[in-house]
Amino acid sequence: MIRRTFLTTLTAIGLATFAAPLVAQDTLRIGVEGAYPPFSYKESDGTLSGFDIEIANALCAEMQRDCDLVEQEWDGMIPALKARKFDAIVASMSITEERKRQIDFSAKYYQTPARIVAPKDAGFEGTPEGLAGKKIGVQRGATHQCYAEKMFPDAEVVLYGTQEEVFRDLTLGRIDVQLSDSLIAQESFLSKDEGADYAFLGGDHLDVECYGEGVGIAVRKGDDELRDALSAAIAAIRDNGTYAEINARYFPFDIYGGRPASADAATN
């Protein structure tokens, strides 16, 4: 009896001694997408690159933790987080009420509005009436699915697995317009050759129910320590200039506070 108690105590001490440093040095696994340029994409040699990737690495450096980037397709992102495939998501995920029921978010690390892209000679307006009967392509599971179905009930919302497929089918004429983040559309489509005959249709689309309060880093519910550490790290890299440095490599303006004030809000 005494012996057993002794052994139990010994085991407990052993566990406590070993567990503490293990937790502190535990590698932080971060879920990323890899198919959402310029935020997250693959170089020709297969390495991950983009704004999200660099921000993730900068945050890890700021928190002084080892990080492992785990690739995950977009529509399985939240289930994979909950299944502990990784501990945080840095994948341009907007903070929304619906997502907050499932997961927790850090403070935002950027926020850009959504806009519609259509052929230059579209001949219709980017309004609910103008898009009635038209096909709107959006990425499945993204906030745009929520917004497109809410704002354009008379349009046919066509869902895609990745944003790249949306742009491809837009150029093939399988959809009439597409709805996505304005920056994504500008950087990875409109500024390229294949987007030459296309332009933004109408103004900015902002909607708290679907688009929320900006883009944050998702963690599992109750993982408050990690969430607060990430929020603090975001504030830190904003202050020390690391954020501005990364921002400048990808975008012509600071994307943290959204687009310049001149951008008019079509809806709210």
Binding site: D75, P79, E98, R101, Q102, R140, G141, Q145, L159, L172
Partner: protein
């Protein structure tokens, strides 16, 4: 009460609210699967006859077709038709583009039809080749020409013997039809993915989809059991006593 409700793993109300979408998904899945099976089956009959023959050109040609189609995943075949063909300017300018290849539904139907035709061809070829020699010899002895004995003796017999294996192909095709959801179609899985995308509830959408697929497979197996009972009666195990009565008496 609140805490009790939070233990129920499914949001039943959400599924019920969106059930019309799931029914539409069932319709999409069924029309794609059934049409693919019909067209694929019609294509497979002449191809199987050619494969069972020793024709020096048709036999190797169709063999290559079935080999390639059975050797590559349906998902890849569907992507090649939906995304691959659309890449070529010539295809987009042709008459095929506007009504057919620009539509995800047609692309899926073409891919599924070509795929199931390949499997059904080989399945039927096996049944034709395995026709009991006696049946063929009897047909020849009674003066049937090749087309006549193929039509009257070999094919009816081969179709019957192919029924059990074909029921598997039907179920595989139904399961394979989930590929449609990857090219924007709202089939059963497509609706499940829609629900997951809209409400971030993976379980609700996918378990409903799984249940619907299960019910359809259940119905298919029931139908095939009935067909087998009707057309394969001569192969079914008999009740005791009847077998002796049916056997001709050699000493008579």
């Amino acid at each position: 009460m609140e805490s009790f409700l939070s233990y129920i793993p499914l949001d039943i109300a959400l599924i019920a609210e969106n059930f019309d979408r799931f029914l539409y998904g069932v319709w999409t899945t069924l029309n794609l699967t059934v049409l693919a099976l019909v067209f694929g089956g019609l294509l497979a009959i002449p191809m199987a006859i050619a494969r069972a023959s020793r024709h020096p050109v048709l036999n190797p040609l169709i063999w290559s077709y079935t080999y390639v189609l059975r050797g590559t995943p349906l998902l890849v075949q569907t992507y090649l038709i939906y995304y691959g063909l659309g890449q070529f300017e010539a295809v987009r300018q042709s008459w095929l583009w506007d009504p057919i290849l620009s539509s995800a539904w047609w692309c899926a139907l073409i891919a599924f039809t070509l795929n199931t035709a390949a499997y059904t061809t080989e399945l039927l070829r096996g049944a034709i080749v395995d026709t009991p020699k006696g049946e063929v010899e009897a047909a020849i002895a009674t003066g049937h020409s090749y087309p006549s004995r193929m039509r009257r003796i070999i094919l009816p017999s081969a179709f019957r013997r192919a029924i059990p294996a074909y029921s598997n192909e039907v179920i595989f095709m139904l399961h394979g039809s989930v590929v449609a959801s990857t090219i924007t179609l709202q089939d059963i899985l497509g609706v499940g993915r829609w629900l997951n995308g809209r409400y971030y509830l993976a379980y609700e959408g996918f378990i409903t989809a799984a249940l619907l697929y299960f019910l359809i497979v259940f119905a298919i197996t029931r139908v095939f059991r009935w067909i087998e009972r009707r057309y394969l009666r001569h192969l079914a195990r008999r009740e005791t006593g009847t077998a002796a009565e049916m056997t001709p008496d050699p000493t008579r």
